[in-house]
């Protein structure tokens, strides 16, 4: 059974929870350290993140660029709003497909849970047009935009 849950809340939010066998500090770092992000926020096999700018302070910029090595790619930009080390990250982000999608607001929290961490991500759903665009764009593999979307868009 999957360790992840994904539920909708009202008509405009998606709540994702996931347990990790590591400390809140480690999971938090994996969300803000570019060298670590580049190792996991990749989506489908074969995609890489050659550019990862992540200025983790309030107002700091985010820019992730993905590539499939065959000339296809997309990117995401965003800004950090709030950071509470090892506990909480609030940021906005938008995908560029290549036109920017509307801003999406995401709050991610990290709580000690047993010997590990419970991460909860509360995402604002993109509007219908954005979701259609996401579905229509690069969906051959089903998830090119992957986490970005997730994390971002939603």
């Amino acid at each position: 059974m999957s360790k992840m849950t994904l539920t909708t809340e009202g008509d405009s939010h998606v709540i994702v929870t996931r347990h990790f066998a590591a400390s809140p500090e480690a999971v938090y770092r994996a969300h803000i350290d570019p060298k670590l992000i580049q190792q996991w926020m990749l989506g489908p096999e074969g995609w890489t993140m050659p550019v990862c700018i992540n200025d983790a302070r309030p107002g700091g910029q985010i820019r992730y660029e993905w590539s499939n090595g065959k000339g296809q790619g997309f990117y995401l930009t965003g800004e950090f709003l709030e950071l509470e080390p090892y506990r909480r990250i609030v940021h906005v982000e938008r995908m560029h497909l290549p036109d920017p999608t509307p801003d999406n607001h995401i709050e991610t929290t990290f709580e000690a849970n047993g010997s590990g961490t419970l991460m909860t991500m509360r995402m604002t759903l993109p509007d219908a047009k954005t979701r259609e665009m996401m579905l229509a764009t690069g969906m051959e593999s089903g998830m090119e935009a992957s986490y970005v979307r997730l994390e971002g868009l939603l």
Binding site: D11, A21, A30, M41, M139
Partner: protein
């Protein structure tokens, strides 16, 4: 069908509407049949049906003086598809994150030695 996912999510946010959908999953039903299990008037049920119809989740047809409703597969599929895509992408990334975290923890233990 111009269903929007927004409307679909809004439609599903209401417990009465979810119950109506669950009933319709068992087969076509008239407004009267749908109103029966709920302590609601037919106009109130009709209002919920209208929300579900605009969201593309149900369809109606004319049958004499009645307009029986049934589930619209397209509407429900659209929403499922979107959530399934999100779920799949997140699960793949988090499985990779598990590996990254295992490496971090392993390194930490190594340093302490």
């Amino acid at each position: 069908m111009q269903a929007t996912l927004d409307a679909a999510f809004a439609a599903l946010a209401d417990p009465t509407r979810r119950a109506i959908l669950a009933r319709l999953a068992a087969g076509e039903a008239t407004v009267m049949e749908l109103a029966e299990p709920f302590a609601m008037t037919q106009p109130a049920i009709s209002q919920h049906l209208k929300v579900l119809e605009v969201a593309g989740l149900i369809q109606s047809r004319i049958h004499g003086t009645k307009r029986p409703r049934r589930l619209s597969k397209a509407g429900i599929d659209a929403m499922d598809q979107w959530l399934a895509m999100l779920r799949k992408a997140l699960e793949a990334n988090y499985d990779q994150l598990d590996q990254v975290l295992a490496n971090i923890e392993g390194k930490k233990r190594g340093e302490k030695r």
